[in-house]
């Protein structure tokens, strides 16, 4: 089993790729949405005016990448393990918003990020046991 799940088909790698792809897509979507904010205000509530930005299309491509890699990940992993692991997104998005977009992170938000990290560490233990069985 471990043999044909090695390399790029490793489900943990797929979860990592999926999660990073979501973070990248959020950055593109936010930048693209900001760039098109003044386009026809009467239609902006649909969210569709953001499609005028090429960055939004890049964001959509990364969303599709994350969806497909997610499907491959849950093919082999229990959902009750894979889904909590994918919540690393709640660390990646605020961190990349801080580093790339220059957004501020409050003390309370840092605490929340720390809590998610602790939770991920706990989830990683059953994950390690599962790995031995694979």
């Amino acid at each position: 089993m471990a043999n044909h799940l090695s390399g790029f088909r490793n489900p943990w790698l797929q979860i990592a790729v999926s999660t990073v792809a979501v973070a990248i897509s959020e950055l593109f979507l936010k930048t693209g949405a900001d760039a098109t904010i003044s386009l026809s205000p009467e239609w902006s509530w649909t969210g569709l005016t953001t499609l005028a930005s090429p960055l939004v299309w890049l964001g959509i491509i990364f969303t599709i990448v994350s969806f497909i890699t997610w499907l491959y990940a849950i093919k082999h992993l229990p959902l009750s393990v894979a889904f909590p692991a994918s919540q690393a997104i709640h660390i990646l998005v605020p961190l990349s918003s801080w580093l790339v977009l220059g957004e501020q992170i409050s003390a309370l938000r840092w605490c929340g990020i720390a809590l998610v990290l602790c939770g991920l560490a706990l989830v990683a233990r059953p994950v390690a046991e599962l790995e031995e069985k694979l």
């Binding site: 849950i74 229990p78 959902l79 605490c111 929340g112 939770g119 706990l122």
Partner: protein, 114 residues
């Protein structure tokens, strides 16, 4: 919060959890059966449809509510998915897994309200 908004939040959550379970079941069927079979097609299509319903309900809700108000409800999806996977897909829940999911949920709520 109006009753309609609460109902929409709940429907969106249920559709998201159902979508993940349907996708998981569909992908699990390909381990032995490959991709050219009915179970895979039916579950991937219904799963993607459920995810799309949840996605657009969420976009609609975002027009009326602040992201920081809506997001804690999404944080709950971790607990719902773990519970539903245990009940319906017979996945084994261990104590560290439950404790970890609760911590992650608490962290997500904290990140979104701050």
């Amino acid at each position: 919060m109006s009753p309609l908004v609460l109902v929409l939040i709940l429907v969106s959550l249920v559709a998201f959890v159902a979508g993940q379970l349907l996708l998981k079941h569909g992908m699990a069927s390909t381990v032995t059966g490959g991709f050219r079979q009915r179970t895979f097609l039916v579950f991937i299509l219904t799963g993607t449809a459920a995810m799309a319903v949840s996605y657009f309900l969420n976009l609609g809700l975002l027009q009326r509510l602040d992201l920081s108000y809506l997001y804690p409800f999404q944080g709950l999806s971790v607990l719902f998915i773990a519970g539903a996977a245990a009940l319906l897909l017979h996945e084994k829940l261990t104590l560290p897994l439950i404790a970890g999911s609760v911590l992650i949920t608490a962290g997500v709520v904290l990140v979104s309200i701050s």
